[in-house]
């Protein structure tokens, strides 16, 4: 017997909707296999990863803190990927956004007031956008591959941050710890409600961005331009849309959102700059974007699911003594299955009988 993939005449609406769920189910199965190979009970593993973090108020709040940057970045990436521009460097744009957004509270700590936070957010977004403009410029000018350049710029950004917090921006009164001064109260992203422990405005930004981008992509001429240039570049040129302007638009929009996520994380969740400000949000957001089918509303759900894997990873580390690397394995499995299941949208699986295949080869 042999398994064949047969191209569908049209893409399947059913499998467009189902494929993320099939991918999730397959990830759980593969995860269970992995837990038993590690000598842990698969039931416990799945429980600590995906159920336990949902049982308490504080951990639900923590979930929004993890999901907010993922959603914010992934929404921008969705625009980028829909226009056929492959920004893999959101992690770097996140870091740069964190740095440029921190300029005021680190270098001008005496500057306080209600204007401070909005300025920080704007500067973070601008920093991310400008950093994302580098691969865009290289692509349009020199025809370089944006996947490579944007990815490599991630390491540049991370090392730049590392250098800053160990050198120029190190807190003079910080006992030589590699970190900046702690932000003043006006520089901290407020909680949604004063009663809450951790949930900050980041999730509000993320939800707003998702709804705005959803409207932009579905209802406006700009969204139409993104979709045309992404799906049929030649038809886009015939329409009079400029492919190189689109490269800048897509990269800078996703860079701005990644930068906003960066400064929101630094200001809301950390409160100062340190050598590492992201547990790989910029990369995980790629999975979020695809799991959400590049649809901003789907991305909200996908962001919450991937946020859960971070929390679950922490829980499993404590309860089962599993390495936090398991989180990365889970995320990798999920991306693998999401992309794999997308095959079902364009192809259907056919089992060809052994006899037939033999005859086909025989003649």
């Amino acid at each position: 017997m042999r398994i064949e993939l047969v191209k569908r005449p049209q893409q399947s609406a059913l499998f467009s909707a189902l494929s993320p769920f099939i991918a999730l189910a397959l990830t759980l199965v593969a995860g269970a296999v992995m837990f038993s190979l590690l000598g842990k009970s698969p039931v416990d593993g799945i429980y600590y990863y995906f159920i336990d973090p949902l049982r308490e108020q504080w951990s639900l709040e923590a979930l929004t803190v993890k999901a907010a940057p993922l959603i914010l970045i992934a929404v921008g990436l969705a625009v980028c990927y829909s226009s056929n521009n492959w920004n893999i460097g959101a992690e770097g744009q996140f870091v740069i956004g964190g740095i440029t957004g921190s300029i005021l509270p680190v270098l001008v700590p005496q500057f306080q007031g209600p204007l401070l936070l909005p300025l920080m957010l704007v500067m973070g977004a601008i920093g991310g956008a400008l950093y994302a403009a580098i691969p865009a410029l290289l692509k349009t000018r020199f025809n370089t591959n944006e996947i490579l350049t944007s990815l490599m710029l991630v390491y540049v950004a991370q090392l730049f941050l590392d250098w800053l917090v160990r050198g120029a921006w190190r807190d003079p009164g910080g006992n030589n710890f590699p970190r900046t001064v702690t932000f003043g109260p006006d520089a901290v992203l407020p909680k949604i409600l004063p009663s809450q422990d951790t949930a900050n405005l980041g999730i509000v930004f993320a939800l707003l961005a998702a709804v705005i981008v959803w409207f932009l992509m579905g209802r406006t001429l700009k969204g139409f331009e993104v979709r045309v240039l992404g799906a049929s570049p030649r038809a886009g040129r015939f329409a009079g849309f400029s492919a190189s302007k689109m490269v800048f638009f897509a990269f800078m929009l996703s860079g701005a959102l990644a930068g906003l996520a960066g400064i929101s994380e630094v200001s809301g969740a950390i409160g100062y700059l340190q050598p590492t400000i992201s547990p790989g949000y910029g990369f995980t957001a790629i999975i979020v974007a695809f799991l959400g089918r590049l649809n901003p509303l789907g991305i909200i759900a996908a962001g919450l699911i991937l946020g859960l894997t971070y929390l679950g990873g922490e829980a499993a580390q404590i309860s089962l003594g599993l390495s936090d690397k398991v989180v990365r394995v889970f995320q990798g499995l999920l991306l693998f299955f999401v992309l794999g299941c997308d095959t079902l949208i364009h192809y259907r699986v056919r089992l060809a009988g052994f006899g037939a295949s033999k005859a086909a080869r025989g003649v």
């Binding site: 001429l221 799906a231 049929s232």
Partner: protein
């Protein structure tokens, strides 16, 4: 299950009840076909009649859903093209599968299963090309060859495998009339050697001239077997289409040289964009109000490059190189030129003129969002979907676009219906200048007549229409002037009254106007 004698003698290929089903569509429906040894058998039918599907099943690239193929009287299963080649079936495709960056001999070597050295293949190919009068340099780079020469590579590649049946898919669609004559000589010669040829075409005159028998397909079914020499072109057309094709009416043009020039191209030159594209050489052209100017030429002589330059997909350094309604447009992009009143229809429907995975209404917006911004785009750039949808439905009704859903994806339409929509999309704007590349390529006869009539109507209402086409019959039917594009240069437009197939054919082959033809073949 033994081979039949008597009436079956001399039959090389026999097809009984061959059916191919794609989803709910029966592309071929119980097709019967008999090809005798040493005959040229024509397979006639409009686009979408099932000719290509049938041939793909015979060549092993598609598996039949049901039915039987008998080769030399014995039932066979043709599972792959290499199985077909082993049986002795060779095929020359309409769209050549050659690599531009390789030599002719290397391209031939790629299709041979064994590991014969290139030198041996080249020698064999050269010998074969001499004996059939198909001159070919096996070491020439394919990218440097003309379309006719490329076809020769395909034919020689096919002959090297000593087939008994050769399938030719629309072989003359890319040739000049003179090149086609040469091809017919070769086919005659092959027939006299006892080889059979299955000749696919929708050009009735050449079928009448060349073929010994014909099978006519319509909507996947065989509607008749006939001897084309006994039929008239009109009776063959009736069989193919099912009813009389309305002929196009062309009123005399008014105004003449006094009419206002609406599209002017002055000294347009363009370097080749890629190593294998054609440079444009100093093109001058004027299209006046009320006129249709046709540009003939063999495919790949710069028509695509010319279209890109005129439409503004590629802009010119000098603003005065292209003028639309008296305005310099050389530096404007395609939207800017549309805003001056021009409209454009490119050759490729899917992926160029329309985005395949988008709905018809979205594809309407594609070329109209700038010119109809007031109607289609509201504040904040929000698309007025209601207005776009209503306009799309208006065009669908106006052009009689047949479709399966209210607002389907472009890719779901047949080629002819999508082309009607794309032409309708531009006509709906009543443009003062319309530039069309291959308006009816791959479109069935009924739709083609409708499109041509619409183009004439547009010109007669006072617009300038420029048609680039490989179909000479079409150009003679609709044009007031014909110019010929060859190797990136454009001949002076010739009034239709002075133009003949011979004159145009010579220009297509590269002869300069006024010169005697360098090597005319005796007919």
């Amino acid at each position: 299950m033994s081979a039949t004698d008597g009436p079956g003698a001399g039959i090389l290929l026999e097809v009984r009840g061959l059916t191919k089903i794609f989803g709910s569509l029966k592309a071929c429906d119980h097709v019967d076909l008999t090809v005798r040894a040493g005959e040229i058998h024509s397979l006639l039918g409009e686009n979408g009649a099932g000719k290509s599907t049938l041939v793909k099943m015979l060549f092993g690239s598609l598996e039949p859903s049901e039915g039987e193929i008998r080769w030399n009287g014995a039932p066979v299963r043709i599972a792959s093209p290499s199985a077909a080649r082993k049986l002795g079936i060779g095929m020359v495709f309409q769209h050549f599968s050659l690599f531009d960056a390789l030599t002719a001999a290397e391209n031939i070597a790629l299709s041979l299963d064994d590991e014969t050295p290139i030198a041996t293949i080249a020698a064999k190919a050269q010998a074969l090309s001499h004996s059939y009068g198909l001159p070919l340099d096996p070491y020439a780079l394919v990218g440097d060859l003309s379309v006719g020469e490329r076809q020769r590579i395909e034919i020689i590649r096919c002959l090297l495998q000593t087939p008994r049946l050769i399938i030719l898919d629309e072989p003359t669609s890319v040739l000049t009339p003179q090149e086609a004559d040469k091809l017919f000589e070769t086919l005659d010669r092959l027939r006299s050697e006892g080889k059979s040829i299955l000749y696919i075409s929708h050009r009735l005159e050449e079928v009448k001239r060349m073929c010994d028998s014909a099978t006519v397909l319509r909507h996947g079914k065989v509607v008749g077997h006939c001897d084309p020499r006994q039929e008239t072109a009109a009776s063959l057309a009736r069989l193919m289409v099912g009813n009389e094709v309305q002929s196009v009416v062309r009123d005399p043009v008014e105004g003449g040289a006094a009419a206002e020039p609406l599209l002017e191209v002055r000294s347009l030159s363009r370097r080749p964009a890629t190593p294998f594209s054609i440079p444009l050489r100093n093109i001058d052209l004027t299209v006046r109000a009320g006129q249709i100017v046709g540009i003939a030429g063999v495919a790949g002589n710069g028509q695509g490059e010319f279209f890109e330059a005129v439409s503004g997909e590629v802009t010119q350094p000098e603003a005065a190189t292209v003028r639309i309604r008296g305005n310099d447009a050389g530096r404007l992009n395609i939207s800017g030129r549309r805003l001056l009143g021009a409209a454009f229809v490119p050759e490729e429907r899917l992926g160029h003129g329309a985005a395949p995975r988008m709905r018809l209404s979205e594809n309407l917006l594609l070329s109209r969002y700038a010119t109809d911004a007031k109607a289609f785009v509201g504040g904040l750039g929000i698309v007025r979907t209601g207005a776009v949808d209503a306009a799309a439905q208006r065009i669908i009704a106006e052009m009689d676009v047949r479709k399966s859903a209210r607002d389907p994806e472009a890719a779901a339409l047949s080629g002819g219906n999508l082309q009607k929509f794309i032409i309708g999309r531009e006509l709906d704007r009543k443009p003062s200048v319309l530039v069309v590349n291959q308006p009816t390529w791959g479109v069935d006869a009924g739709a083609a007549a409708r499109i041509r009539q619409a183009l004439i109507a547009l010109a007669r209402s006072g617009s300038a229409v420029l048609i680039i086409s490989q179909d000479l019959d079409e150009l003679f039917e609709v044009s007031d002037f014909i110019a010929v594009m060859h190797d990136g240069a454009l001949s002076a437009p010739m009034p239709i009254a002075h133009a003949t197939f011979e004159k145009i054919g010579l220009l297509m082959g590269g002869a300069e106007p006024g010169h005697a033809a360098p090597e005319t073949e005796p007919a």
